[in-house]
Amino acid sequence: MLSIIATNLLRRPTRTIFTAAGIAVGIATIVALLSFTQGLRETAAGLAHLGGSGLGVFQSNVSDPTASILPESLVAQLARQPYVARATPLVLLVEGVKREPSAVTFGADPRGFFAQSLVIVAGTRPASPETEALVGDRLAAQLHLAPGEALAVSGHTYRVAGLYHSGILFEDSGAVLSLAQTRLLAARPGEETNVVVDLAPRAHARAAATAIERDFPGTQVISDPQQALRAGANGTLISKAILVIVAMALIVGAIGVANTMAMSILERQSELGLLSTVGWSSRRVATLVMGEGIAVSVLGAIAGLLFGVIGADLLVRALGVSAYVSPAVTAWGLGRGLLVGVAIGVLGGAYPAWRVTHMQPLKVLAGT
């Protein structure tokens, strides 16, 4: 049976290749988006634990966590809570670095634990916070920056005092200025984007998050990557968009396979009728047709997995977010792509297979 399936697919290689290619495009899109989302999730993990914090406090109901606005006074109030060891404010400035728009500029209190947790890998910490900046090692590599050189942020030029590494992609792809300078650039006097909180020993993140959201209305706490993704409308939109694309890939792919297989069985009616005359049951003939549909889909899916892995990288470049999203290809992501491929084959092969079971061998053999 398998050898007949293989032979039938190989006898019309162009048709097989085009059908598989159509499926491959769908699967590649799915895999690329899943990899992108996984990368986004890992970036979100960084957002949840900026500066190695236990959790981050943001404004609730914002389109994106970076659009959050909180009052300056919140830091001191949070610092007084029994479950909080330390709290420090951050101002996040997006698209401030024109040469790398996806890089985030962090405005941080130089004495706060966020700034202090950065490991300086070249140069020094800023001696003059008003005129100097720290640059993440990843951004420095992209912009070919070294200590002593200049970095332009929102039209202002700062001397690069040093390069840092934190181990968090989001941070290492950005730059750090003083809180006051960033507020000035963002035109947000007396405001901050979020407060990063280091929990007291034995404090539980989830319990602390519940308490903060209860005691400080209008805030939301992000303590894990899933929350970070859900916190912004963009993350939710991406997740939903993937679902829609998966559904579309299934429908379009299945129609493509069904069309190919339906044409194939029309051309091969005599052959399939013959199989009935030599004692193949309807179920066996249908299995042959279904098997061909699944085989071409799996071929397409395998090609799609390869293209998807490549496409994920292209996608983050095209979206200009390569600085803070690194596509993460997981076995489960690839597995889902393959599952969709098999599902396309089953759905697309079902109708032609059903038609085969209703063929009348005599008419088919007579060519009518």
């Binding site: 049976m1 052959e271 005359t277 030599v278 004692g279 066996r284 005599l362």
Partner: protein
């Protein structure tokens, strides 16, 4: 290779209509085990339909077909009955073009109990029997018309049928090749005792058969032995 002895066929009052037209009307026929019967008649007289009913390719609207006393057309078991009892040879050889001659002969055996090696050995034996052992790995497109028909005969014999049904087996062949294919078919019948029913316009088929049945407008018109036809 040993083929079991032929099956007895009884057709009892079968009728079949296609699109409101009577293809067969109350046809009854008995073919003894090992007998070779030729069915003749004008185009549209119902010859192929009768063959299809006997082989379980079509279900009669009324009446029944019994092979060795058992109705062939039982929905659940008709495919199995075809596989175990019946071999078909058609005017168009209907070989699978992408498969070699050997693989074509193996097709009826797929799904039967034989392993791949056994199937392969059986196919090669049959091709040797029809004189094509040296053409086993050739594609149908690489074979002559007569060779393709001989492959089709080998395929029909793959499941060791007790009933061989042939619909115009020489219709697309020249007279020399027709003679060779008929030699093969009737030789196999003589050798194995397989019951054979052959639909044909060809007088040579009638001359070789034990009996000739003539259909006219879907009904049985006459039954003759070769001597009666000739004489």
């Amino acid at each position: 290779m040993s083929v079991p002895a032929g099956a007895e066929v009884r057709v009892e009052g079968v009728a079949k209509r296609f699109s409101g037209v009577d293809a067969l009307r109350d046809v009854s026929l008995r073919v003894d085990a090992g007998e070779a019967v030729a069915i003749t008649g004008r185009s549209g007289s119902g010859k192929s339909t009768l063959l299809a009913l006997i082989g379980g390719l079509e279900q009669p609207d009324s009446g029944r077909v019994l092979i060795d006393g058992r109705a062939i057309w039982r929905q659940a078991g008709v495919a199995r009955a075809r596989r175990e009892l019946v071999g078909f040879v058609f005017q168009r050889h209907l070989l699978l073009e992408a498969l070699s001659a050997r693989a074509n002969v193996e097709v009826p055996l797929i799904g039967a109990s034989e392993r791949r090696a056994q199937r392969r050995r059986r196919a090669l034996e049959l091709l040797e029997e029809v004189g094509l052992s040296d053409r086993a790995e050739h594609l149908p497109s690489e074979l002559s018309g007569g060779e393709r028909q001989r492959v089709a005969v080998a395929r029909a014999l793959a499941n060791q049928p007790r009933l061989l049904l042939a619909d115009e087996p020489t219709g697309a062949l020249d007279s020399y090749t027709s003679e060779r294919v008929l030699d093969l078919l009737f030789g196999l019948r003589d050798q194995h005792g397989t019951t054979m029913i052959v639909v044909s316009y060809d007088a040579a088929v009638g001359a070789r058969a034990d009996r000739t049945v003539t259909l006219l407008d879907g009904a049985l018109a006459a039954t003759d032995t070769p001597s009666a036809v000739g004489g």
